[in-house]
C-alpha cells in the first residue's frame, strides 16, 4: 500500500531533503510528487538516499540537460515546484532565473524549480557539489532568487511610499522583507565560508 503525504516546504530546501531522507530511512520510497503532495511506496528501510537540488535559475533546456546527465549517472530524478503556482496563462516570469531561464512557459519549466535526486544506497558518497567553486556558484544561485524576490518587495514598497500606488499594507511588506532577508543572510554566510576554504584548498 502506498502512502500520500501533504507537505509544503516553501523555500526550505534542507528541511525538505531531511524529511524525504527520513521517510526513506523508515522504509518509504518517494515515487511521485505533485504541487502539494508526495507519494511513497514501501521499500527496504534505508535503501535510498535523496538530495534536493535547486535548479530554478536554469533555462528549460539546461534543466533537461542536467536531468539527462543525472539519469545517465544512474540516478532517478523527480521534479518539484518551489512555490505555489501563481502563473497566469501559459507564460510566467521567474525573476530569479538567469538569461532565458527567466521566462518559463508551459509545458516545461514552471513548477519545476527543484530536482529531487534519488540514489540507491550503496555506501558510496552522494555529494552533488564536490568542489568549493561549485558550492559557491550553487548557493549564489539560491541566494540570487531571494535577492530578486526581495527587490520586487522593495519595489512595491517604493511605489507605495513615493507614488502612493498599490494597496499592500506596509506591515505585510515589512514582514516579507524580513522573511526574505533571513535566507539571504544565511546563504551569504555559507558562501563566504566556502570562499575562505577555497582560498587554500581547491
Amino acid at each position: 500500500m502506498g502512502r500520500i503525504e501533504f507537505r509544503y516546504f516553501m523555500g526550505f530546501l534542507d528541511t525538505q531533503e531531511k524529511w524525504i531522507n527520513e521517510m526513506a530511512a523508515n522504509g518509504w520510497r518517494l515515487v511521485k510528487t505533485s504541487t502539494l503532495f508526495y507519494e511513497f511506496e514501501p521499500c527496504e528501510p534505508g535503501s535510498y538516499e535523496y538530495r534536493v537540488e535547486f535548479v530554478g535559475a536554469l533555462s528549460y533546456g539546461k534543466m533537461r540537460d542536467y536531468k539527462d546527465l543525472l539519469s545517465g549517472l544512474g540516478y532517478r530524478v523527480l521534479t518539484k515546484n518551489l512555490n505555489l503556482n501563481m502563473s497566469f496563462g501559459k507564460v510566467r516570469w521567474r525573476p530569479f532565473g538567469r538569461g532565458s531561464g527567466q521566462i518559463v512557459t508551459s509545458p516545461g519549466g514552471y513548477n519545476k524549480e527543484i530536482l529531487i535526486i534519488e540514489k540507491k544506497a550503496d555506501g558510496e558518497s552522494f555529494e552533488v557539489h564536490s568542489n568549493y567553486d561549485d558550492l559557491i556558484a550553487y548557493y549564489q544561485s539560491i541566494r540570487g532568487m531571494y535577492v530578486a524576490l526581495l527587490s520586487i518587495v522593495v519595489a512595491f514598497w517604493a511605489l507605495r511610499f513615493f507614488a502612493s500606488i498599490g494597496s499592500i499594507p506596509y506591515a505585510v511588506l515589512a514582514i516579507a522583507m524580513v522573511l526574505l532577508l533571513i535566507p539571504i543572510v544565511l546563504y551569504s554566510r555559507r558562501i563566504s565560508m566556502y570562499k575562505r576554504l577555497g582560498m587554500t584548498n581547491e
Binding site: 537540488e53 535559475a57 536554469l58 539546461k62 540537460d65 542536467y66 539527462d68 546527465l69 543525472l70 545517465g72 549517472l73 544512474g74 540516478y75 535526486i117 558518497s125 555529494e127 552533488v128 557539489h129 564536490s130 568542489n131 567553486d133 561549485d134 556558484a137 550553487y138 544561485s141 581547491e202
Partner: protein, 112 residues
Amino acid sequence: MGIRDNIRGGALTETTLLVLLALYRPNHGYGVSQFVVQKTGGRVRLGAGTLYGAIDNLSRKKWIAPLKDEGCTRRKEYVITDVGKQMVEKELRRLNEVMRLAARTVKENENG
C-alpha cells in the same frame, strides 16, 4: 552555475583539467565521471552538479563541444576542442615548472 575555471595565476582547477582530459575521447557525463574516478584511483569523485557545471561552463567557453546528435539517445556526448587542448598543454607546462621549483627547493633545504 558559472564556475571559475582558472584561478588568478592562470592555473586550471583540478576539476577543469580532469574533465578536459576525459574528453580527449568523445564521452558523455557518466564516462567523464568514470574516467575521473579510475584515473585518480578514487581520490577525486566529481559530484553530479559539479560535473554538470564544469561541462556547461567549458562548452560555453568552447574548450569542449557537444557532438552532433547521433539518433535517439538523449545522452549528450562531448569532445575537447583545439582551444581546449591548448589550455591543457599550457597547464602542463605550468605544472612542470611548479614541480621543478618544488623539487629544487626541497632538495636545496635538505642538503643545507
